[in-house]
Symmetry: C2
Subunit: 353 residues, 2 copies
Amino acid sequence: MIASFAKTARQEAAVDSFRAAICPTKMTIADLGCSVGPNVLQMASEIIEAIAQASHQLNRRPPEMQVFLNDLPGNDFNTLFSLLPEFYELRETKLQETDQEQVPCFISGVPGSFYVRLFVSKSLHFVYSSNSLHWLSQVPQMQLQDGSEAPLNNKGNVYISHTSPPSVFEAYKKQFKRDFSLFLKCRGEEVVEGGHMVLTFMARRSSDPLAPMDFDGWELLAKALRDMVSLGLTEEEKVDSFNLPWYAPSMEEVKDEITIQGSFAIKKIELFDINWDDNSQEAPRNDHNYNPVAKSTLTMAKASRAVLESMLKSHFGEAIIEKLFERYCFLLEEYYSKYKAEVTNILIVFERK
Amino acid sequence: MIASFAKTARQEAAVDSFRAAICPTKMTIADLGCSVGPNVLQMASEIIEAIAQASHQLNRRPPEMQVFLNDLPGNDFNTLFSLLPEFYELRETKLQETDQEQVPCFISGVPGSFYVRLFVSKSLHFVYSSNSLHWLSQVPQMQLQDGSEAPLNNKGNVYISHTSPPSVFEAYKKQFKRDFSLFLKCRGEEVVEGGHMVLTFMARRSSDPLAPMDFDGWELLAKALRDMVSLGLTEEEKVDSFNLPWYAPSMEEVKDEITIQGSFAIKKIELFDINWDDNSQEAPRNDHNYNPVAKSTLTMAKASRAVLESMLKSHFGEAIIEKLFERYCFLLEEYYSKYKAEVTNILIVFERK
C-alpha cells in the first residue's frame, strides 16, 4: 500500500511532465541511484505505462522514451543490464496481447555521482530517485576555528548518537545541506521547464536528531562494531574513526534547502512510514516455520549489506566482514522482535520553475 | 599510422556533423560495439577534442557532449565504467593546464544489439563503430527448397573455407546483407539529417570468398578444433555443427547494401590493411627477449578470445577452452612466423541524407 503511494506520485508527476512539454514525441526520464534488481525496471515500466495511458487519453501518439539508469560507477551495472533482454521481451509480449500501441523505450546506464552534473542541460523531462538521497557525498568533517577541517570526534558511534557531541550533528547537517543543495542545482540545470522530480529517501520526524529515532539500525551497527573490538577482531580507534556518509534530515531541513536553492517549486511534501519487510512477498502457504521477524531482519540486513559492505571493507579490511554482519543481523533480529521494523521516509514532488 | 587514418576520418566526420547541425549547443555521439578497454574512452576523447577545436575556430561555444557507449548486454560494462572516474579527472586536469574552455561530456552505456533500434528517433549527430560489424546477428542458416531453414552443411569448418559447399558462402552473404541492411535502417532512423557515421570492420579484397584470404585465423581455429577431436576432447559432430556468426564482405557487397537501403550517402569508402600487432606499444628498450611474432600472436589470440570464448564455451563446454586456446595460439604463432599478420579492413564514411 505504501509502495503504491510513492508509485502513484511518480506516475502522476511523470504525466504532468508529459503535459507540461505539450505531449512531446520524445521523453527522457532518469532514475538516480537506481542500484540493481528487478525493481529498477519495474519502476521505469510503471512510469512508461502511465505516460502511454495519458497520451492515449489525449489522443496523442505515445512518445519514444529514453530511460537513464544512474548509480555510482561501482554499482553492478552488468547484473542490471543482464535483465534487459527479458525486460524488452516481456514488454513486446504484453503489447501484442493487449493490442496496445508500442511505446519504444531505450534504456541506458549512467555511471556517476548524482552530486555532480550527469546529463546535458535541459535534457530531462522527469527525474526520480528512490531510497538513495540519504547517502551523502562524503563523511562529514568538522570545521575548526582556523577554517581547516578535521575528522569527527564521534567515539564509539557511526552516526549521530546520544553520546555524540553537538558538533557531530552540526557537521552532518552541514554536509547534508551542501550535498542536497548541489543535487538540486545540478538537476535544476538538467531538467526542462515544467519537468518534474519525485524523491523519496529516509528522514526523521523530529527536528531534534536525538529524539527517539525512527531508525535505530546504525546504533546497532555501532554496537556490532564495538563487539568486534571486544572480540579482538578490530581496534577501538578504527571504530572511533568510522562514520557513515548518511543523513536522515527533518522535513524542515529539506524544505529550507529547496527554498534557498530556488530551482524547483514543491508540489507535495510528506513523511510516511515504510516497513523494512518486503510487503510484495507474502508468507509461503503451509510454511509453519515462517517467522516474520526473521524475514524482516533478513531483508534489512541484506539491504544494508549491499550498500555498507564496500565501505566497511575498505575501513576495517575484508577479514571482519562475515563475523560483523552475523553479529549485526543478530542484533537487528533481537531489536525488531520488540519494536516495529519501520522507518520514516520523505516524499517530495517538485516542478522545475 | 593506420590507426591515425581511421582516427582522422572519425574526427573529420564528427566535425562535419557539428557543422551540419549548425553548431548545436548539445551533440550526441555513439560508439557501437565499443567493447571494453581504455581505447573506448580514447576514441570518444579524440572526437570531443576535434569538435572543441572546430567550435573554437568558428568562434562558437563548444557543445555539451552526450556520449553513448554501446555493446551487447554481456559486455563487461562494469570494467568500462570503472575507468570513468579517472577519465573525467584527467580531462579536468588537462583543461586546467591548457586553459581551454570546458566541454562538458556525459557518458552512458547502452546495452543491446546494434541490429535493432538502440536510440530514440533523430537523436544522434554522429555514430562510429570500430571492429564490430563483421559480427553477424546470428549464425547463418541454409534456406531449404520448401522455405524452411536448416543448419549449414560445413563439415570440419567454422567459416567459409575451400572445403565448404557453395551454399555456405551463399548463406553467409545473405545473412550479412540482411544484418547490414537492418543496421543501416535502424541508424537511418536514429541519425539526424546531415549527421555522419564512420564504420570500420574486417573485409576482403576479392569478390571471391575463396581467393587467398586476408585473414586465415578461422582456418586455424577450425584446425585447432579438429585437433581437439583427435585428442578425444570433443566430438567430430560438435565441430561440424559449429559455425561463426562472422563475415568479411567485399567492398562491392557493402556498397550494394548501402545503395539499396538508401538512408545514407557514401562520402568515402576504402580498404586498408592493419597489423594485428598493437602498434601503439613499442618494444620495451633493452628487452633482448622481445619477440615481435610472439607478441603479435598474443595480441591476436587475446583479441579473438575476448569475443570467441563465450560462443565456444556454450557450444563445446568449459572443459575444452584452455587446451583449445593453447593450441590455437600455437597454430597462430606458427603461421604468422611465415606470413604477415595483416588483415584487411574497410572504412566507410556516411552522411545521413
